[in-house]
């Protein structure tokens, strides 16, 4: 019974990661937009929803005690707007500028979370975030299962919506732009607008995932949104194979299993005073794993990105032809 509860708990976390990875897959896998600050967008969602839904707190702004669904919607709106602004600032430039800017977004969000006590509660974070099935908390199994059900439904909806989007004309335009960055920049405003849209929708999905996580644990703090989160999600996407939504979900579950498993293993194998060092080693190992995957299997397990090398030009022409509306 305990195992079932843990299984549900594990899957819930993994599916929330999947949601972030799906958002990243829309940005990177489908559109080729590089986001190394996704932890920032997840944090924006978590804090927004927490502010909107927590009961009034004299020590900080809000909370407004609104329904949870309003919190989630608010998270998506704010996350989407933040991503759209980031995109508008950088998408007329080369992709590296977007990478650097998103990196900066994560740094600044972390800074705000830590220091703007009136807004975010500072280093202690925000507690008493309403949980959808809080009343079931006495029976952990039921509680975990109902959380899993909610997260599964949300992830499934996001998955189906993204599958539909990537097959729609909109998705095909994004893929075409992904294949040729120069063209995407030179095509001007209309192309840029497509890419900003994709980046904003991706940001909104990440923010929603952040909100789900916040309501699932009931407590958030700046520590939850360190660069390591960004890194984990990237590994999930690369392992699963960028470009494939199914790959994003499976990659997330797989990597989270490895992560949680190796975490459990180190906590068993190492004495308490060595735990921090063991955790560092765990991160280093995953970093090496990411590099090795990029080297030997850049398409991941389910990826669809064509390999480009000498074949670059020809491959581009071929894809451009195959997706041009007939």
């Amino acid at each position: 019974m305990d195992l079932l509860g843990y299984g549900a708990f594990f899957l819930t976390t993994a599916l929330i990661f999947s949601l972030v990875t799906l958002g990243l897959n829309l940005q990177w896998g489908l559109t080729g937009l590089f986001n190394v600050g996704l932890a920032g967008f997840v944090a924006i969602g978590a804090y927004t929803s927490a502010l909107l839904t927590t009961p009034d707190d004299a020590a900080r702004l809000g909370g407004f005690g609104l329904p949870i669904l309003v919190g989630w919607a608010g998270a998506m709106v704010v996350g989407g707007i933040a991503a759209a602004l980031t995109g508008m600032a950088t998408l007329r430039l080369k992709s590296d500028y977007l990478a650097i800017t998103t990196f900066g977004v994560a740094v600044v969000v972390q800074l705000v979370a830590l220091n703007a006590q009136k807004l975010t509660g500072g280093p202690f974070g925000i507690g008493f975030i309403p949980r959808p099935f809080g009343s079931l908390a006495e029976t952990p199994l039921l509680f975990n299962l109902s959380n899993l059900a909610v997260v599964s439904v949300v992830t499934l909806i996001a998955y189906l919506a993204l599958e539909h989007l990537s097959r729609s004309p909109w998705g095909r335009v994004l893929k075409a732009l992904r294949e040729d960055e120069r063209a995407a920049i030179s095509l001007g405003k209309s192309a840029r607008f497509y890419r900003v849209q994709a980046f904003a929708v991706g940001g909104a999905i990440m923010a929603l995932a952040g909100a789900l996580q916040a309501h699932f644990t009931g407590f958030i703090a700046p520590d939850n949104y360190l660069p390591i989160l960004t890194f984990q999600v990237w590994v999930m996407l690369i392992v699963g194979g960028s470009g494939s939504n199914l790959g994003a979900v499976i990659g997330s579950i797989l990597v989270w299993a490895i992560w949680a498993g190796s975490g459990t293993l180190t906590s068993i194998l190492f004495p308490p005073e060595q735990q921090a060092r063991a955790a560092a080693l765990q991160i280093a190992a995953i970093g090496v794993m990411l590099c090795v995957i990029l080297l030997i299997r850049p398409n991941g397990l389910f990826g669809d990105r064509p390999r480009r090398s000498w074949l670059g030009k020809r491959a581009k022409v071929a894809t451009a032809k195959s997706i041009s509306p007939s």
Binding site: G32, F34, V36, A89, T90, R92, L93, K94, S95, D96, Y97, A99, I100, T101, F103, G104, V105, V107, V108, L111, L114, N115, P227, I228, F231, W234, V235, I238, A276, R277, A280, L281, Q282, I283, A284, A285, I286, G287, V288, L290, C291, L294, L295, P298, R307, R308, S309, G312
Partner: protein, 302 residues
């Protein structure tokens, strides 16, 4: 407002600027933003620290060179640390970046540098733990130099060192065949090969310069602030902002960008508070991207 922020800003700016030279060279010659550059800094610093300890263990305690806080062991160790960091950069290029470069997708290389950055930093944390450490625990007396500004001998020495290094790199880039080859490669890689430039050797020089300067910047942070595994990662955003502010590919631009960001940070620390320091780079970065994305000395890409 005290003018002390000028000294603080110039010092921070020197560290950022020396790091940004490597970032801007990597970007203009190898065409990717290297997220592992900050970790070169940290590795160089820890390597230097290790050599200092080794020297201390073999020859015993060495008196500092008055009035500085450090003696010849640190200087020797710095040179060894620079060589080590350069080798580390070359090694990482050989096993990772160069292979991905040959596959032709620049952004994958950025991704890999992000992964490498995580691995490098975590290895430092594993080996040395995340507890801060120092080159010297001696406290230096800051000398008043007028206008309410105080400065320590270490700070003067490091500012001079920065000036010498920047001038050296600038002369190398503009007055030597190696430097001209680097410029040529950054402007037109195909033509560079046609005129007989060996791309592989220019790439090696780029990593050596970038790595060595990153080590110096890291050691400066180590002397003036503290040594931590995250020291380089925290410098990443200021370094990128400085490189973009100065104009990608421009050495004087990177240094000037670093100084501007350093001064702005120091000013912000005085006016708003130290906790918001890291936001300064981001605000300046966004301002540049909106107003003049090619930076101060940049040239529009063709």
């Amino acid at each position: 407002m005290s003018l002390q922020f000028v000294v603080d800003g110039l010092l921070t700016g020197s560290m950022i600027g020396l790091g940004a030279i490597g970032v801007t060279l990597t970007y203009s010659i190898l065409r990717f933003s290297n997220f592992a550059h900050g970790d070169f800094m940290a590795w160089g610093t820890y390597a230097t620290l290790a050599v200092v300890s080794a020297i201390g263990a073999t020859v015993g305690k060495v008196a500092p060179i008055a009035p500085l806080s450090f003696g010849w062991p640190l200087i020797v160790a710095l040179v060894i640390g620079m060589a080590f960091t350069a080798l580390l950069a070359l090694l990482l290029d050989k096993v990772l970046f160069s292979r991905l470069r040959s596959q032709g997708q620049a952004i994958i290389v950025v991704m890999a540098s992000f992964g490498a950055s995580m691995a490098l930093r975590s290895l430092l944390e594993f080996t040395f733990t995340s507890r801060p450490t120092y080159f010297s625990r001696a406290i230096q007396i800051a000398m008043p130099v007028g206008f309410g500004i105080r400065i320590t001998p270490d700070q003067i020495a490091l500012l001079l060192l920065t000036a010498v290094l920047v001038l050296g790199v600038h002369l190398l880039m503009t007055r030597t065949q190696t430097g001209r080859s680097m410029q040529a490669l950054s402007q037109n890689a195909a033509l560079a090969r046609i005129v007989g430039i060996d791309v592989a050797s220019v790439v090696r020089v780029t990593w050596v310069i970038g790595g060595a300067l990153a080590c110096v910047a890291g050691v400066m942070i180590g002397i003036l602030v503290q040594i931590r595994p995250f020291m380089g990662f925290d410098m990443l955003l200021p370094m990128f902002a400085a490189a973009i502010l100065g104009g990608i590919g421009s050495i004087p631009g990177a240094v000037l960008g670093g100084l501007i960001i350093g001064l702005a940070e120091a000013g912000a620390v005085q006016l708003i508070g130290a906790e918001w320091r890291a936001a300064v780079s981001f605000i300046l970065l966004m301002a540049v991207l909106f107003v003049r994305p090619i930076g101060l000395f940049g040239v529009r890409e063709r």
